[in-house]
């Protein structure tokens, strides 16, 4: 009883003693303030974590919702810009494609010219009939006639051969100073001397179909004794300025009615309506064999080709009493003529 009263009376002093003692103990232990601050910070983080997650989720949702409104304008603007760019690029791409295709086409034409050293070719461009209205009425009544922009002043003459890189396309039937008319294999005015590639003795005449809708040509004047098969290649026979042995087409049907001549039908290689340029053959240079009158099929060397000189295997000068035996290329008439 007395103790409690004395404690109550001296309470400030006791509190002072207790607090000072605790402070001294803490000072003696050396506990730094950052331990408590770290603990408080950790506790604060643990407590605040769910709230921060909640705030983040709410903020993200708000930003997402606001983005619908804010991003709409920018997306629309970007779409407009992209559409304008596409509108600019589409014609350029089309031009590029057209230029590329024209380049490929010109490459093909140039390659064809270079691959035909025997032929003196002139490239001619097909033009509309309206450029020559006087002849248009006459010509237009005849199906399968092309008008090209090369005429007599360019050295073009009637009966010249017109061809594409796929094969013979037709024949020149009329020539004006600056224009020429080409009867294609679609025209009934087209007649070309031909032979069968498998057996060049078999001769025929190619007649145009006479219709723009049918490209199948008719081969007439084939001897009944000649053998013509489906799949045989048809070549030009060559006469005058018309070149020989150029492909025309392939036999697709043979018709033997028992008369003097049999008839075959041919599918031409060339489609004159699918090209912008055709070649007109101004002159076909014959081969040396053709000029000498020899059969091209017998174009085999009579004597073996000389072996190339090998200096290492050549005999020594002292032993070299005989020269190399060069082949005698003279003809038999020259060799044995008196």
């Amino acid at each position: 009883m007395q103790l409690s009263r004395r404690i109550r009376e001296n309470r400030p002093t006791i509190v002072l003693v207790v607090l000072v003692s605790l402070s001294l103990v803490s000072l003696a232990s050396g506990t730094r303030g950052n331990i408590i601050s770290n603990a408080v910070a950790t506790a604060g983080s643990v407590i605040a974590y769910p709230f921060l997650r909640t705030f983040d989720a709410i903020g993200g949702g708000v930003n997402y919702a606001v983005g619908f409104v804010v991003a709409y304008d920018s997306s629309r603007k970007e779409a407009t810009e992209l559409r304008e760019q596409v509108n600019k690029l589409v014609p350029r791409i089309a031009d590029h494609d057209a230029i590329y295709q024209e380049n490929q086409r010109l490459k093909g034409l140039l390659g064809f010219i270079e691959s035909q050293p025997r032929l003196d070719l002139t490239a001619a461009k097909t033009v509309a009939l309206s450029q020559d209205p006087i002849a248009a009425a006459k010509i237009s009544s005849s199906a399968g006639v092309l008008v090209v922009n090369r005429g007599s002043i360019h050295g073009i003459e009637p009966a010249m051969c017109a061809m594409t890189k796929d094969g013979v396309a037709g024949i020149v039937i009329d020539v004006r100073p600056t224009l020429s008319y080409v009867a294609t294999l679609h025209s009934d005015r087209c007649q070309i001397g031909a032979m069968i590639g498998r057996d060049k003795r078999v001769r025929a005449t190619v007649h145009g179909s006479g219709s723009d809708f049918s490209h199948i040509c008719r081969l007439e004047h084939i001897d009944t004794k000649d053998v013509v098969r489906v799949g045989d290649e048809v070549l030009t026979a060559g006469s005058g300025i018309f070149p020989a042995e150029y492909p025309i087409g392939t036999i697709v049907e043979v018709e033997n009615s028992g008369s003097l001549f049999q008839v075959a039908y041919m599918e031409p290689y060339a489609d004159p309506y699918s090209v912008d340029e055709i070649f007109l053959v101004k002159r076909a240079q014959p081969t040396l064999m053709e000029m000498s009158g020899q059969d091209p099929a017998a174009n085999q060397p009579v004597v073996p080709e000389p072996e190339p000189l090998d200096m290492a295997s050549r005999p020594k000068r002292n032993d070299d009493k005989a020269a190399f035996a060069l082949p005698d290329t003279r003809s038999i008439q020259e060799r044995y003529a008196p």
Binding site: L24, I36, S37
Partner: protein, 172 residues
């Protein structure tokens, strides 16, 4: 009663937090007023030694944590100063502001000496004399300058009542 203790708690915490943060803005040659000491002295004079010591404990812990000192450094100094000031102020016969300012100045000097002494005991390499001359004495003057303003604001905040002082501040 609870409301009064909550108000006291908030006042001490705010004073300690301001002491560790914004008071640097009014530093003069790195000398700052000690707002926590002012609250300790105020509650010592206004209420009593027990409330002054509790104020010193709360404010001191906050300052120890904020300044990364050894726990108890500020607490020990504030508790001793608060108790001493309360015992002295109980015998003061005047309420003159100058007397309060002088008491605050003396309390600040005592606090500074105690603080430097404890720091020196912990680490003898501390420049004790330099701290006393450069920090403690100017700081005591600077703190005393704030006495009328802070005491007036505290009087208005706590509506200093006789019954509170008579109750000893804790129980009311």
């Amino acid at each position: 009663m609870i409301r009064r203790n909550v108000l006291w708690f908030i006042t001490v915490v705010v004073a300690a937090l301001v002491q560790t943060t914004w008071v640097e803005q009014i530093a003069v040659s790195r000398v700052v007023p000690d707002l926590t000491l002012l609250t300790v002295v105020y509650f010592a004079m206004a209420i009593g030694e027990e409330r002054a010591m509790y104020t010193g404990v709360l404010g001191g812990v906050i300052l120890d944590i904020a300044s990364n000192e050894t726990i108890g450094h500020f607490v020990l100094c504030y508790v001793i100063v608060g108790y001493t000031v309360a015992r002295i102020s109980a015998r003061m016969m005047t309420e003159h502001p100058a007397a309060k300012a002088i008491l605050v100045f003396c309390a600040a000097i005592a606090f500074g000496l105690l603080w430097v002494a404890v720091a020196y005991v912990q680490d003898p390499s501390v420049a004790a004399l330099n701290n006393i001359v450069a920090r403690v004495v100017p700081g005591a003057f600077y703190t005393a300058l704030f006495t009328p303003v802070l005491f007036f604001a505290m009087d208005r905040l706590f509506k200093r009542r006789k019954e509170w002082k008579l109750s000893g501040g804790l129980i009311g």
